[in-house]
């Protein structure tokens, strides 16, 4: 098509812009032209001998033709308005027709693309919800987490409950960066709702301004007032929406009613909105009622609302200054401590961000492989359509036009795939959310849904990949010499098909190298996961049931009452058939709970304030170690006789024994708590280390104390059983109720579930990576197979000649396989370089394996090479069966 001159193009553009106004002009112009035409035709008919009437009728009939004047006036108008739109729709129609004519090709391409687009979109939807979408709070971008951290000890950043109570009480008055500075902690409470069994509820004890920080509105009633948040204020509680629905049947009349919680009467003042929350979900909200000069340990979490205009950095600087001042004023607890501020999202997403981005990158690679594969399919198809294209060029289609046509075909293909892919993505997302690691907090997962970002992303991916895989064949068509192929009469070996062969080989090399990158990632993740699985946790998770038992402080005020309850309950549980051992601990491993405090050893010089070693203190009942399967290394375990009034005793973990007593026997030494100088606990034994924070985390210095001497009203009970732990839930709960009918067994869970939850994040990324890796491998293998099969077909004639000249089967097979192997090796080489360069980025996702692990790299290279050779072997066998006679005759 000749390009119309520049001015003409400008005019055309202007006309298109003003198309609406022109429609009327066009109609009137057309009408004048039509009447002129009809008049002329009438005159001619009259000259030919018709009567004027007949002539006019005939002329009008002629003009209108069969289609009717109106209809083709429309047509004339369309011609003007939408030359390019029309061309596009024609291309699309043509593309759809072409795809329908090649159902095998279409099915293969659509399946490949739909799968990979679906996978990409599914991963993206999670990334979107976790990292991109707005958090469900009105002032989400101004909400920050405020944390304290030791500058010398490597504790987790911003741990659960690591914020000092007195520091909070001071800073809430002095910090200038925040318009509201809230703190909270969690606890288990027993609630007795009217006409129901006692239920153990997760309570969040918070300052009243937490709701201000989160910008929350109650579903019913109201939140706490500042008066209710003061010491001695009225006892009120707010129910979460779910808890209210479940235990109060969604009755709006509960507002103002009183219920019993931990043997106290509380007034229900409000119900939160559905899905409202921060961090982990809770059942009820209670006011903290903190006194102005509160004492206490580091048991809080703090979040704050930045004043408008204050940046996170400014707030962070202020908190660091305030923390430094506290370190001077109160060095005993604050030396070597600092405070920091980070955006809420960072706190919520934590380490998951890296996992998610890595997975998105991995699935992106898969998509690239799929694109390369489809490009290859299209090129193969283009080869078989050379004649068709040649004829179209003869009919006046310009190469540019043809290229656009082919590109349209690719985009149509990818759009069809994207629609299917979106459906897959929505299903896949549901699955992903179910499998997602629990360290992504719930309120963000509530947001994983189909939103405009997901649809836009999928559309962009579809268009992008359509252009990407359509580009090669389109460019190819634009440069092809069609006359050549017309004359060729379809036999291969033209310059064009050789160029196409090179392009296809390059695509296969690219596929192989991407597949290697994916497999390398998969290999590293799978090996990390298996390393994690093989870490000895320090206890035996199989055949053990756990559950939380919380005693209300009002009815269980004395150590004898608390210890007596657990003694009786454990005795009843132990008597159940199939129960082998039973015990309890203040904080079970893998629950993320701990209470770290400084300690000294009697007879040694006390450390400087803040310099003491941090011991992780836990209270246990005598049966705990047997129930968990934690071995005693030396000394003795606790007995029921280690009670209040008897000498204070302690058990320590091996890590503590090695760290504090490297060259002596720890037994007989006496531990003095930093915060309670009156307790002098003698070490009576050493027990095995336990990975309290999960297999990937270090072991801590543990100090175990007998429950009566170190009182906790809320304990995790562990029951070692024969057979399936889940089947013991009812009998155990019943045994506990026999001791006190108002005490429930909360969240009964098999210990194995806790253990598997601790590796859930690695398991998920390992399995997704493995899935993507295997898919990539399969696609790459199909790619090699396709290219080799095509080559064999193209060289049919040549192979025939070789066979005729005496080449043996193994010669021919060797020739083809060698070519396939060369492509594989080139791909593996490039991929290995890429993967090696990128592996460092995965360092922090890995466990127990270096990112450049030679064994992993060697193994997957060998696997990939083997698959490549096999994929080439199949067409090679076919080549070897070429009959020279038929090959030469063709």
């Amino acid at each position: 098509m000749t390009t119309p001159g520049f001015l003409a193009r400008v005019r055309l553009g202007i006309r298109k812009l003003t198309g609406f106004r022109r429609a009327a002009d066009l109609d009137s112009r057309f009408d004048s032209e039509a009447s002129f035409h009809i008049e002329m035709a009438t005159e001619r008919h009259i000259r030919a001998g018709m009567t004027p009437d007949e002539a006019r009728r005939a002329a009008a009939r002629d003009f209108a033709g069969q289609s009717g004047r109106e209809e083709w006036r429309e047509q004339a108008r369309d011609e003007v308005r939408s030359a390019s739109v029309e061309e596009f729709t024609r291309d699309v129609r043509y593309a759809v027709r072409g795809l329908r004519r090649a159902p095998g090709f279409t099915a293969a391409a659509v399946a490949t693309l739909a799968l990979s687009i679906g996978a990409t979109s599914a991963i993206f939807s999670v990334v979107n919800a976790a990292l991109l979408a707005r958090l469900p709070y009105p002032n989400a971008d101004r909400i920050v987490a405020v944390c304290e951290r030791s500058t010398t000890k490597a504790f987790e950043i911003c741990p659960v409950g690591g914020f000092s109570v007195p520091n909070y009480a001071v800073w809430r008055e002095t910090a200038k960066s925040f318009s509201a500075f809230a703190a909270f902690r969690e606890g288990r409470v027993s609630i007795i709702a009217p006409r129901a069994e006692p239920v153990s509820a997760q309570a969040r004890v918070s300052t009243a301004n937490l709701f201000t920080v989160l910008g929350a509105h109650p579903f019913l009633g109201r939140f706490f007032t500042e008066e209710e948040d003061r010491p001695g204020g009225p006892t009120v509680m707010v129910l979460s929406y779910d808890f209210w629905r479940q235990y109060f049947g969604g009755d709006p009349g509960v507002i103002g009613s009183r219920i019993s919680m931990n043997a106290n009467d509380y007034t229900i003042v409000g119900v939160t909105a559905p899905r409202f929350g921060i961090y982990d979900p809770v059942d009820v909200w209670l006011p903290m009622r903190l006194p102005p000069s509160a004492q206490g340990g580091r048991s809080l979490r703090a979040i704050a609302l930045l004043k408008p205009g204050v940046t996170v950095e400014q707030a962070d600087r202020e908190m660091k200054t305030l923390a430094a001042r506290r370190a001077q004023d109160e060095p005993r607890y604050n030396a070597d401590m600092t405070a920091f501020v980070l955006p809420l999202r960072e706190k919520l997403v934590g380490g998951s961000a890296r996992v998610l981005w890595t997975l998105l990158a991995a699935v992106g690679f898969l998509l690239l492989i799929a694109c390369a594969n489809v490009a290859n399919l299209l090129l193969a198809r283009a080869a078989s359509r050379e004649r068709e294209m040649a004829v179209r060029v003869s009919l006046g289609a310009s190469p540019r036009r043809l290229a656009r046509q082919l590109l349209t075909e690719s985009v149509v293909l990818s759009v069809i795939s994207a629609v299917l892919g979106l459906v897959l993505a929505i299903e896949g997302t549901r699955l992903l959310v179910a499998l997602l690691p629990s360290d992504l907090s719930f309120q963000m997962l509530g947001n994983v849904s189909v939103d405009w970002r997901l649809v836009a992303f999928t559309a962009a991916v579809a268009l992008g990949s359509g252009v990407l895989f359509g580009l090669a064949p389109a460019l190819h068509a634009a440069h092809g010499d069609v006359h050549e192929s017309l004359k060729e009469g379809g036999r291969g070996g033209t310059a064009q098909s050789r160029a196409s062969g090179r392009l296809r080989s390059a695509l296969v090399v690219a596929e192989m190298s991407l597949a290697l990158v994916l497999l390398a990632g998969a290999g590293l993740m799978v090996r990390s996961f298996s390393a994690l699985q093989h870490v000895a946790l320090g206890f035996e998770p199989e055949h053990a049931l756990t559950g939380r038992v919380s005693l209300p402080g009002r009815t269980y005020q004395t150590d004898t009452a608390v210890a007596g309850f657990f003694e009786q309950a454990e005795a009843r549980i132990a008597a159940l058939p199939g129960v082998k051992a039973v015990g309890a601990i203040s904080y079970l491993p893998l629950t993320g709970q701990r209470s770290v405090n400084g300690f000294d050893i009697e007879g040694r010089a006390p450390a400087e304030p803040g310099q003491q070693p941090g011991g992780d203190m836990r209270a246990v009942t005598p049966g705990y170690f047997r129930a968990m399967g934690i071995p005693l290394k030396s000394g003795r375990l606790f007995t029921p006789d280690d009670r209040m009034g008897k000498p204070d005793v302690a058990l320590i973990s091996e890590t503590l024994a090695h760290t504090i007593f490297p060259n002596e026997d720890p037994i007989g030494h006496v531990i003095v708590y930093d915060w309670d100088r009156t307790t002098h606990a003698e070490i009576v034994g050493v027990v095995g280390d336990v990975h309290h924070d999960g297999p990937a985390k270090q072991t801590y210095m543990e100090i175990y104390r007998p429950l009566p001497q170190f009182l906790y009203g809320s304990m995790d009970v562990v029951i070692r059983v024969n057979g399936d732990p889940a089947s013991y839930v009812r009998p155990v709960a019943a045994a506990i109720r026999q001791v006190d009918p108002s005490i429930p067994l909360a969240s009964p869970t098999p210990l194995t579930k806790l253990a598997s939850r601790a590796v859930a994040s690695t398991r998920l990324s390992a399995s997704l990576f493995a899935l993507f890796g295997v898919l990539g491998l399969v696609l790459a293998a199909i790619g090699i197979y396709g290219v080799m099969a095509y080559t064999v077909q193209q060289r049919h004639h040549e192979i025939g000649v070789r066979v005729a000249l005496g080449a043996s089967t193994s010669n021919v097979v060797g020739m083809v396989v060698r070519r396939g192997a060369m492509l594989s090796i080139a791909g593996i080489g490039i991929g290995a370089v890429l993967a090696f360069a990128g592996a460092g980025l995965m360092q922090r996702l890995l466990f127990g394996i270096p990112p450049h692990d030679r064994v992993t790299f060697a193994t997957i290279s060998v696997v990939l090479a083997a698959v490549g050779v096999f994929a080439a072997y199949v067409p090679a066998r076919r080549a070897a069966r070429v009959d020279p006679l038929t090959a030469l005759r063709d």
């Binding site: 000749t2 119309p4 002129f36 035409h37 002329m40 047509q75 004339a76 011609e79 003007v80 009919l395």
Partner: protein
């Protein structure tokens, strides 16, 4: 072109070329173009008006012809079409491609 309806595109391209050719002889109104084509083909081709006017509008839109109101031989107001420079070039190219087409068609018809 091996689609189900090869005639559409083929005939449209051909009609465009013939219209341009008719205008190469000088500016003319729609009626005159049909007469020129009829005479030129010794009455073998009769261009239906249903195709002619859309073709003219399309060619004008593409910048290959321009049009203006003027007076016909018998003193009536009529829309006159004239070939533009782009139209002239396009016609030359179409001629080329028509030659190639007829050669290709010949090749195909000669194929076994």
């Amino acid at each position: 072109m091996p689609t189900q309806k090869p005639s559409d595109e083929l005939l449209r391209g051909m009609l465009d070329m013939l219209v341009l050719k008719a205008l190469q002889l000088g500016p003319m109104h729609g009626w005159g173009i049909t007469e020129r084509l009829e005479q030129g083909s010794r009455s073998a081709l009769r261009v239906g008006q249903g195709s002619l006017y859309p073709a003219l509008y399309r060619l004008e839109e593409q910048g290959f012809v321009s049009s203006t109101w003027s007076t016909s031989d018998n003193n009536r107001r009529a829309r006159f079409y004239a070939l533009t420079a782009a139209g002239r070039a396009h016609l030359a190219e179409e001629r080329q491609s028509w030659r190639r087409l007829s050669r290709a068609v010949e090749l195909i018809l000669a194929m076994e």
